[in-house]
Subunit: 214 residues, 6 copies
Amino acid sequence: MLVEFGATRVLCTASVTEGVPRWRRGSGLGWVTAEYAMLPRATNTRSDRESIKGRVGGRTHEISRLIGRSLRAGIDLKALGENSIVLDCDVLQADGGTRTAAITGAYVALHDAVHWLAARKALTGKPEAVMHRSVAAISVGLIGGEPRLDLCYEEDVAAEVDMNVVCTGTGDFVEVQGTGEAGVFAREQLDALLDLAVLGCLDLAEAQRKALLQ
Amino acid sequence: MLVEFGATRVLCTASVTEGVPRWRRGSGLGWVTAEYAMLPRATNTRSDRESIKGRVGGRTHEISRLIGRSLRAGIDLKALGENSIVLDCDVLQADGGTRTAAITGAYVALHDAVHWLAARKALTGKPEAVMHRSVAAISVGLIGGEPRLDLCYEEDVAAEVDMNVVCTGTGDFVEVQGTGEAGVFAREQLDALLDLAVLGCLDLAEAQRKALLQ
Amino acid sequence: MLVEFGATRVLCTASVTEGVPRWRRGSGLGWVTAEYAMLPRATNTRSDRESIKGRVGGRTHEISRLIGRSLRAGIDLKALGENSIVLDCDVLQADGGTRTAAITGAYVALHDAVHWLAARKALTGKPEAVMHRSVAAISVGLIGGEPRLDLCYEEDVAAEVDMNVVCTGTGDFVEVQGTGEAGVFAREQLDALLDLAVLGCLDLAEAQRKALLQ
Amino acid sequence: MLVEFGATRVLCTASVTEGVPRWRRGSGLGWVTAEYAMLPRATNTRSDRESIKGRVGGRTHEISRLIGRSLRAGIDLKALGENSIVLDCDVLQADGGTRTAAITGAYVALHDAVHWLAARKALTGKPEAVMHRSVAAISVGLIGGEPRLDLCYEEDVAAEVDMNVVCTGTGDFVEVQGTGEAGVFAREQLDALLDLAVLGCLDLAEAQRKALLQ
Amino acid sequence: MLVEFGATRVLCTASVTEGVPRWRRGSGLGWVTAEYAMLPRATNTRSDRESIKGRVGGRTHEISRLIGRSLRAGIDLKALGENSIVLDCDVLQADGGTRTAAITGAYVALHDAVHWLAARKALTGKPEAVMHRSVAAISVGLIGGEPRLDLCYEEDVAAEVDMNVVCTGTGDFVEVQGTGEAGVFAREQLDALLDLAVLGCLDLAEAQRKALLQ
Amino acid sequence: MLVEFGATRVLCTASVTEGVPRWRRGSGLGWVTAEYAMLPRATNTRSDRESIKGRVGGRTHEISRLIGRSLRAGIDLKALGENSIVLDCDVLQADGGTRTAAITGAYVALHDAVHWLAARKALTGKPEAVMHRSVAAISVGLIGGEPRLDLCYEEDVAAEVDMNVVCTGTGDFVEVQGTGEAGVFAREQLDALLDLAVLGCLDLAEAQRKALLQ
């Protein structure tokens, strides 16, 4: 599943393993994790490979954890049964919003994986019960005091406030992360950003539905 | 500086180095970073040392970055001049809210370090200009649908929604991080949590002022 | 530059840096290296990320070194001048012959990078002098005693002898690596494999020429 | 258990796990190890965290091994039964003699842990049989040719000979480590240092007894 | 087993373990691997220890894999039964051709290990069936256009083409690795190098036979 | 320089670099360090390589530090001038006392290196001034209550007390490390061990003098 948001391109795949990690065995619950990474040439200036540096950077870890947490909110781990799904989100080209694109695309890959498990009769519940909420994410920000949706790299750098919002298909929140990169923000600014983000996520939920119909 | 919030105890120290990292030299700007860690016996069950595992975990990285980012929002790096300050936040005992306690305590340690630099005439600006905003943080959450302030460990585990909020002394936002650990949250719930957190942060700002007068 | 050989797909990019590593400074010579990697889901069964394992495996190292060595044979490092080029070869999908596909594709990426440097007048020599030999690579093998060209994954596994050959556009050898995976091979078998590989490389050289004309 | 020797402050805790490492299972013997670490700001100049450097330094390793070895001399591992105890010694503030303070404090923490196990009827022998010897340690040194007890940091740096001695409560030796940091030492000097150290350790044994009565 | 080729000295030992790695259990097949390393002072200029650098370099990995692969070609893993043999090849002094010396010496160490297993009745087949092919290796190269056998370090550096050839005692090929270090090579040059290498390997096979008779 | 003590064989070499590490530049003082390692098959049971484990063990670190410290006691770093010497001690075969054999052998290698520097007129002082004290080391222990000199592996394992003593050629102490591996030791036992060790070291000093005359 290749997601494209403007010039940002993220390859999202889901890999299924029967069984769960040792600490979860016998619980009847499944497990979903994510791993996010960027190819060295995804950005304009080449960055070093984390495999060669011998350690995964803080930013990579943080985003991988965010993706995993967000997708687990959309899935009923009991209905999934003792199956594990790893979501790989590899950024081939980056132009802002790679983490939100990864979440939105990983949802579609996860949906496919769950239906593949359903076809093999490996789920505990029905696939609709497993995928009980759709999940999508978008970035918003304040630029020159104005709320803006889905920032590209240049906007992201210029933004005074940068916020990533993960929503369900019904407009509830899964995760809200707002940072005053270059300054602080007042409550009314926060409110305007949240309004904008929810609308953006609802549009994405619609696009996901269409993609899954194909 | 030892901060105590209930049973949570965090040792916060600031270390000053003249000069800045290579990539920042000649910019006239200072630099502030933070390192967060937990002693192995801070929690009820002993956890392995990250030094022995040979890598810093994702959670540790994420919190260190959050603390650094939050404190940089409170400081004017230009007025600081080319000085570096490392904020060490070591959790001796953990009972929920260690990251927010660390931010709140690190602000006081940072304040002391800036005045120490002022006394040695090593700042570019006046100390009041350097510390232009006070910064404090608190955790809030929804438990049984009810908003709660400053969660202890047991409440944190039980919370459906867990949110860390970093505010200035005037109630503006520096960082907002809300996660639906066990479920999603509606806009009105988010609003109630934000209201509660701002009040909590204003109380902390008052406590910081008192601590700095001593 | 995305190379496709059957179901094998490798993304090859070249990144240029002015200057050379410290040990080479003042020599007047340029430097070319390569880094090869596979996405975790490039193969049928997901493999763990080397960044997470914290070390680059022996196979990855070996292939990266082979690609770098092969491409340096095609370039005049003196005419390149003190510029460094990193060739990133990331396997998106693997079905045998990923290292030979990477070499063949990296040659085209390298050619582009050299002409980009020429346009910026950053070369010591002319671009034709820098790229003085074209380089392409192919895999051959013995299956059931029969020589076969460009093995896919299933053939590769079945092959008694597996050989990677790197040639110039005039059919000279740059590198020859033949391994008896499941048995040894006689001189006449080796000769037949070399004949086949040279023909295959000449075809690839022709395809490279066409790609560069576009 | 927080031990203070002059300005040196070490936090010593004991963590009990039922069972022993795999290589010791079925032997009927318990296991005791120690981990020593210094907070980055324990010394006057901040030192880098070993977790961030990704490896535990030689000095840390050496001291951890010394503490573990010394405490195992005080305990009957057979009477302990198949239980494991980890002794964490974290230096909050360092002013010389951190390793000897750690041993002396860890003995008290170990004693508490053994009695906690006794209360849960998890020992093979009686607690008095398990803790069959008390263990304490002290540093001595030659400064300007004179033997000195319990060196602070400045004395430690100035000492020609630096010696750490671990003794039982009856004045027998568990470990003797003497180093000519800046010069060698004659037999009579060694004898004088040993005399002094034994007296110091007997005083510490008395202090330990008092601490355990509280 | 200490192998000497000119000034090159390699210590080759074989260590036997009953049983095989987990992924191979129950297959009835044995396993043979090799580990190659150089002492820091084996070369004229001291090189850093890989243990201290914390990672095994690409060259070391590559040679270890080559040695293991070559020796497995000489052994019938079914007749070996579920036993594991590790071949350690430590270069005490290096003057070119360390990898080929290691293969040639490791064969003798492997032969001894197999007969030691035979004496303990731990093999599935007879020792002659286990060691069904002898394996030896040699380096050849083109210097000034002339084919040369068994290059010393100075020749190796001067060679335009450098080739390592692993052969059986009957002159069949196990592995062929030829590299144009400083230039490419034509088919007739490759043929001449192969002729020379086969003759060299047959001489080594004879020397191995004599060594094993002692 | 290959040292043999019974079945223990240690290869000791000294490597000279002009200049000193950055932190010592301009001090006029030289620097001496040591690196100790064991080949995997030096012991009866093969041990894993530290390069492959990716970290140097505590024991290796501890011994390397002991060797470096002991040899620095024998050398006048001012007379050495700003030169660095690395002493590599690689154990080819181990049968007890590898660290003391390494110190004794490293002294001879160091002596040679200093005279090599003298011949190139690279010393600040005269070679006799640089090597102002000879250094040798021996292990002693209590077995069945009896003091024993130069323990082999079986004796080492059986010893109740194990002590390593480093002495100068005139019988002064450089380092004393005594451990009650299986029990504690009384003052008179310690005295007897020290007497024995000094005599042993004086014999070794004589042997070193002879080796250097050759």
